[in-house]
C-alpha cells in the first residue's frame, strides 16, 4: 500500500539536527563574544568552545552521509548549493578561528588581534546564515521552507551563543551583567519569532501533522525555554547574591531550549510534501471534483 499523506522524512535525523545545534550555538558564541567582550577579556575560551561545537556539528553530519570517504566532493557546487557554501565558510572560519586562538587569546592582546576577533564574528555570522539557507532550500519539507524559519534560526543561534557566554562566565572570568541583559532581549525576540513561525506554518500549507508536533511543544517551550531564562536573566541583573549562578542557569536553559527547538523542527516536524491533485479524473458520466490532498482534514476536499 502506498503512502499518500505526508510522512516524516528519514534522510536527516538527529545527526543532521546536531549540525544545526552545534553550528548555530558555536557561531552565536563567536558573534556574542566579539560584541560583548571588553578589551583584555579572554577570547580564547569562547573561540575554542565555538570551534569545538561547529566542528562537532559537522562531524555529526559527516557520520550521517552514505559515502563519508567522498566527503570532499561537498566542495564541488558553490554556484547554487548552500551546503557547499557552508563548507567553504566553515574552512575559512576554522582557519581564522585557530589563528585567533593562538595569536590573540585575549581581546586587545596584540595589535590587530581585534581585527581577527571581528573576522571570526563576521565569518560566524555568514556561517549561521548559510545554515538557515540550507533549510530554506529544502523545498520538499514545508516546515523548513517557510520563510519565517530563517529569522527564527538566526535569533536562536545568537541566543544560544549568549547563553553559552553566561555558562562560560565562571571559567572565562567574564562579566555577567552584559550577557544577561542581551540574553533577556534575545529570549524575548526568539519567543516572538517562534510564535510568528508557528502562526505562519498554520496557514502556509505545512502538513497538519507537522504543525501539531510543534503546537504540542509550544507551551512548554515558551514557558520553560523563554519565560524562565528571561526571569533568571532579570534576577541576575539585580543586586542580589549569586548573579553568576543565576546567569549560568539562564544560559543553560536558553541553550537547551534552542537545541530542543532545532531538534523538533529538523527531525520531528520534518514531514514531506505528500501528494495532492487539483482535480479528479473524469470517467464515464462522472463530473470533475476537487482532487484529494491526503493528510489534510477531509482529504483536502
Amino acid at each position: 500500500m502506498s503512502r499518500n499523506a505526508p510522512w516524516r522524512q528519514t534522510n536527516w535525523d538527529w545527526r543532521a539536527a546536531a549540525n544545526f545545534m552545534g553550528g548555530g550555538a558555536g557561531a552565536g558564541l563567536l558573534i556574542a563574544a566579539a560584541i560583548v567582550s571588553a578589551p583584555g577579556d579572554p577570547f580564547w575560551p569562547h573561540a575554542a568552545l565555538a570551534l569545538l561545537l561547529i566542528g562537532g556539528g559537522l562531524a555529526s553530519a559527516w557520520f550521517e552521509i552514505g559515502r563519508p570517504l567522498r566527503a570532499m566532493n561537498v566542495f564541488l557546487h558553490p554556484r547554487t548549493s548552500w551546503m557547499t557554501r557552508e563548507s567553504y565558510v566553515a574552512v575559512a572560519l576554522f582557519a581564522v578561528g585557530l589563528v585567533t586562538v593562538l595569536v590573540a587569546p585575549r581581546s586587545g592582546a596584540v595589535p590587530g588581534g581585534g581585527a581577527l576577533i571581528w573576522a571570526c564574528a563576521v565569518l560566524a555570522a555568514v556561517y549561521l546564515f548559510t545554515q538557515t539557507r540550507i533549510l530554506a532550500a529544502a523545498r520538499g519539507i514545508p516546515a523548513w521552507r517557510e520563510p519565517a524559519l530563517q529569522p527564527l534560526m538566526v535569533v536562536t543561534g545568537l541566543t544560544e551563543g549568549v547563553g553559552l557566554m553566561l555558562v562560560l562566565a565562571p571559567v572565562a572570568a567574564g562579566a555577567v551583567a552584559g550577557p544577561a541583559a542581551v540574553l533577556l532581549c534575545l529570549c524575548l525576540l526568539r519567543g516572538l519569532a517562534w510564535l510568528v513561525y508557528l502562526r505562519r506554518i498554520e496557514s502556509a500549507g505545512v502538513p497538519p501533522a507537522a504543525c501539531a508536533v510543534l503546537r504540542r511543544a509550544s507551551t512548554g517551550l515558551i514557558v520553560v525555554g523563554h519565560v524562565l531564562p528571561i526571569l533568571l536573566s532579570f534576577l541576575a541583573l539585580q543586586p542580589w547574591p549569586w548573579p553568576t549562578g543565576l546567569g549560568v542557569l539562564a544560559g543553560v536553559v536558553a541553550l537547551a531550549a534552542g537545541w530542543l527547538l532545532k531538534y523538533l523542527v529538523v527531525t520531528r516536524a520534518a514531514y514531506n510534501q505528500g501528494f495532492a491533485l487539483p482535480w479528479t479524473p473524469v470517467r464515464g458520466a462522472g463530473d470533475a471534483v476537487a482532487g484529494p490532498r491526503p493528510g489534510w482534514p477531509n482529504g483536502g476536499t
Binding site: 534522510n11 550521517e64 559515502r67 548549493s81 548552500w82 514531506n272 471534483v289
Partner: protein
C-alpha cells in the same frame, strides 16, 4: 530542442501496478525502493466516494530543486530534460531527498535483498555496488532512451527505446515522448486534453503531466 516528458492519463489508469513491477524488474531496485509507483487515493465521503490511481516518481523537473541543492554536482540535467545522478560523485548526504517535493529520491544505506541478507542468483547478477549509500531515482530509463539515436528510433514510439513502465502499461495510460515535437503523441495528448502537473506552484516545472479530462 528536445524535452522528454511523461504523460499519465488518470482516466485510464486502473492501479494494476504493472508499471511498478516492470520498473522493479528493469532497474533491480532493492526492497522498499520504488522508482515508479502508483498511488491509490480515495476522494469524497460515503456514498459518493471515488478512487484515483496516480503514477508517481521522479518528475524530471525543468527547475529541479534536487540539482540546485546537491553539493557535489552529482545531480545533473541533460539538454533533453532528463535529470541524472552520477553515482560516483554522490556522497549520500540526502539533501536532494529533502529538497524533492515528490518524494522521488531514495538512499539505501546498505545492500538489501528480497529475502534478507541472502541474495538470490538474479539479485547477485544485477547487484550494483555503486548504487549503495547514494541517492537513486527514476531515470526515465535513460539507458533505453539513449539507444534511440544510434538506432534511428523514436522514444515513446518504438518500444526498445521507451521507458519500461510505459511499455508495460496495460491500459495505455502512460505515455512518453518529446514535448517539443508537435507531432509526438505526448504533444497531442497535452494539446487535446485538460492536464495538470503536481505541486506546480513550487516552481519546479515538472516533466510529468496528468490528463484528467478532455478539453
Amino acid at each position: 530542442m528536445t524535452r522528454y516528458v511523461m504523460v499519465a492519463d488518470l482516466r485510464r489508469c486502473v492501479g494494476c501496478q504493472t508499471c511498478t513491477a516492470a520498473c522493479k524488474g528493469a532497474n533491480a531496485t532493492p526492497p522498499g525502493v520504488q522508482w515508479r509507483q502508483v498511488l491509490d487515493m480515495e476522494v469524497g465521503t460515503f456514498p459518493d466516494v471515488r478512487r484515483v490511481f496516480v503514477p508517481v516518481g521522479c518528475m524530471h523537473c525543468g527547475e529541479p530543486p534536487c540539482m540546485e541543492v546537491c553539493p557535489t554536482t552529482a545531480t545533473g540535467q541533460r539538454d533533453d530534460g532528463l535529470v541524472t545522478i552520477d553515482y560516483d560523485l554522490c556522497i549520500g548526504c540526502g539533501y536532494c531527498a529533502v529538497a524533492c517535493p515528490y518524494q522521488a529520491r531514495h538512499i539505501s544505506h546498505r545492500a538489501a535483498f528480497a529475502y534478507g541478507d541472502q541474495a538470490m542468483a538474479p539479485e547477485v547478477a544485477r547487484f550494483d555496488e555503486a548504487r549503495v549509500a547514494v541517492a537513486t531515482k527514476c531515470t526515465f530509463c535513460v539507458d533505453r532512451v539513449d539507444k534511440a539515436k544510434e538506432n534511428g528510433l523514436v522514444p515513446g514510439v518504438d518500444q526498445e527505446v521507451t521507458p519500461v513502465c510505459v511499455n508495460s502499461c496495460i491500459a495505455g495510460a502512460l505515455h512518453f515522448g518529446d514535448r517539443d515535437d508537435p507531432d509526438s503523441a505526448v504533444s497531442s495528448l497535452l494539446a487535446e486534453n485538460a492536464t495538470f502537473r503536481m505541486h506546480e506552484d513550487l516552481g519546479t516545472d515538472p516533466g510529468f503531466h496528468y490528463v484528467w479530462d478532455s478539453e
